[in-house]
């Protein structure tokens, strides 16, 4: 299992800090006239996307190309759980082509884990989001963004997020971003509070290393970062909340609420934002909102992960906890 990145929960504190530090150096490449490193020359990476996600795929693709890897994009559009065999068949096809790594996005929770632990394929597996399970590179780029803003770009090197208070707001139930962030932020020493209507919090959440609140207003003044999750309008139809308006009123972030946050505190969003639902335009466009930075940081983080997993003869990341599974 050491060769893959499946879950943010698999990373030790030192692994995570190493990835963040490496990403900080990768970020400097973006400032150069030639934004390219020869590091992964001759390595073939497949972006295997069973779900549409142009943002994540482009981010990985940019990272792969900056490291000079050969990139193959495979978008199995319209694929669903009913096409179960196709994951195995696709994996074996890619294996036969001699790919070194598979970056996989899949609608089924656990599909990347299955790919990594089955005998279908020998390549390194990097989870680019699976169902409602995990999205570890998103959590890493979020942590990277927080460390830069809350600790400092240079001061942050070698540091974690000890004592930082992070509030994650929205559809926790259906969010792999929330799960990954809770795991990683806890590992990095941050204190996480999840805020959502009770219908959008999973049964069993009591085992997560975080606090749960149903009241956004009472947590804002105690937050160093507030991360808004996307809330899909369709959830309304399944009775998770009554109306868009009521959701926005109780759990949306507007200018008045942002004003209750400490001055240094930032607003984050994994994108794409639903303006007017979980976040108002005023907040989304403010200096405190890091959405655009998060996108840029995503490329640096993915370069770091790719380098640390593929740059040598063995990975530099330990992943102890997945092994125990």
């Amino acid at each position: 299992m050491q060769r893959h990145l499946i879950s943010a929960a698999d990373l030790t504190r030192d692994d995570a800090v190493l990835i963040l530090d490496t990403a900080e150096e990768m970020a400097r490449v973006a400032d150069r006239p030639i934004k390219k490193l020869p590091t992964l020359r001759g390595r073939t990476i497949v972006n295997l996307f069973f779900e549409d996600s142009t943002r994540t795929r482009i981010s990985f693709e940019a990272a792969e190309k900056r490291l000079s890897a050969d990139v193959i994009n495979f978008t199995a559009k319209g694929s669903s759980v009913s096409k179960g065999e196709s994951l195995k068949d696709t994996a074996q096809t890619l294996e036969a082509m001699g790919v070194d790594a598979v970056v996989i996005r899949h609608g089924a929770s656990g599909a990347p884990y299955r790919l990594a632990t089955s005998d279908w394929i020998d390549a390194v597996v990097i989870n680019a989001g699976d169902g409602t399970h995990q999205h570890p590179t998103q959590a890493l780029l979020d942590a990277f963004t927080m460390r830069r803003r809350l600790v400092g770009r240079d001061a942050g090197i070698g540091q974690d997020l000890a004592g930082k208070r992070i509030t994650i707001v929205g559809d926790v139930l259906h969010s792999r971003v929330a799960r990954s962030n809770v795991d990683l932020l806890h590992t990095l020493g941050a204190e996480v509070t999840l805020v959502a209507p009770p219908t959008l919090v999973p049964v069993g959440v009591e085992a997560w290393p975080c606090e749960i609140s149903y009241d956004l207003d009472s947590t804002l003044s105690k937050s160093d970062a507030v991360m808004m999750l996307r809330v899909q309008r369709e959830r309304m139809n399944a009775a998770f909340f009554p109306t868009e308006r009521e959701y926005s009123r109780r759990y949306g972030l507007d200018g008045d609420r942002m004003a209750k946050m400490p001055e240094h505190a930032i607003v984050m969003h994994p994108g794409p934002m639903v303006r007017g639902m979980e976040i108002t335009a005023e907040v989304a466009d403010s200096d405190r909102c890091t959405v655009v930075e998060q996108v840029a940081n995503g490329v640096s983080i993915r370069m770091a992960v790719l380098y640390l997993l593929l740059g040598g003869n063995e990975p530099a990341v330990t992943h102890t906890r997945t092994e125990e599974k």
Binding site: A9, V81, S82, K83, G84, E85, L87, K88, H106, G107, A108, S109, G110, A111, Y113, R114, T117, S118, D130, G131, T132, H133, Q134, R176, R179, P202, V203, G204, V205, E206, A207, W208, K325
Partner: protein, 431 residues
Amino acid sequence: MSKILIRGAKVLGGEPQDVLIDGDTIASVGTGLSGEAVEGAEIVEADGKVLLPGLVDLHTHLREPGREDSETVLTGTRAAASGGFTAVFAMANTFPVADTAGVVEQVYRLGQEHGYCDVQPIGAVTVGLEGKKLAELGAMHESAAGVTVFSDDGKCVDDAVIMRRALEYVKAFGGVVAQHAQEPRLTEGAQMNEGVVSAELGLGGWPAVAEESIIARDVLLAEHVGSRVHICHLSTAGSVEIVRWAKSRGIDVTAEVTPHHLLLTDELVRSYNPVYKVNPPLRTERDVMALREALADGTIDIVATDHAPHPHEDKDCEWAAAAMGMVGLETALSVVQQTMVETGLLDWAGVADRMSVKPAAIGRAAGHGRPVSAGEPANLTLVDTAYRGTVDPAGFASRSRNTPYEGRELPGRVTHTWLRGKATLVDGKLA
């Protein structure tokens, strides 16, 4: 007529005795049987093995007709004989569905032809298992198959009115409805038990209440219309409480538990290995302990395997795409030995009761689940309880290999099975 003398068998786990089979009947049971009566008998040295009445499984999926790639009546009954069963009840969710006299008679005849094990078809409660219109329950009962158990297993009869009518209707011929208790709306997209593990794994949660609410409704309906109801594969501690309450009220309810729910928990799902995907889902340690206790105290009446064969490709995929179910006929007794006998919760007489006597009584399987005594049909199972072995699916008689126990050490092994005096399993090998 051929004679078989089983020497030194612990009948129901008691003191070693000799059992003489003459033809299809047990001729005598006693110590040191000898003389003219045993002359010419084939000798089987039981040597301290435990002799039980042939096991009866009230919940088997034989897949024929329609899914012969996963199991057939022949392979399924061979698996049953290997596991010590002399009668199995074949669930109705075949293709076509067993909702007419024609289909149930076909399955029944196949069982008779192959001769490894009596096959008693279960009829569908509703046409096509769709929960909307009652199937011809009476016609199935009057057919050669003589159906007495009706179930839409795999699907819940969730419409309260249809359930009520079915419960009432089968009273006319002493039938029973076996309910697959699963509230469909509460389990849309459900992939595993809802709890700590599902929250972490991001798999759709299958709440205990989806099972318990249907059981609660159905015991009340059974009480109201004065019928009996059977609850399939009960899986939660809460379900146990409801059945216990219903029995204390005198409601005519019976319940089954599967071997896997007596042993396995949802922690195994962390592997995302679909071999652990099953309906109802594996629950928590607390549920497992409550189920064992309920089986011991009789709240749960029987063990039923829910033997659900699936071809390799239906399990060799990601979790969400995988089929639900596990094979169970060939490991059932071993799991019960480990979870109930070796824990001191049941003795072998208790096992005979939960795996033979009671299931035969619920299903009205004539000639099965009878005492091991003279004059009774010679449906018998001999178990080497001292055996310890590792489960190797390659050795299964079933066509499918989807066992959650591969590589696991389980105690006990069935060495002989007799169906009406005819050996179907000898020294662990199918006859």
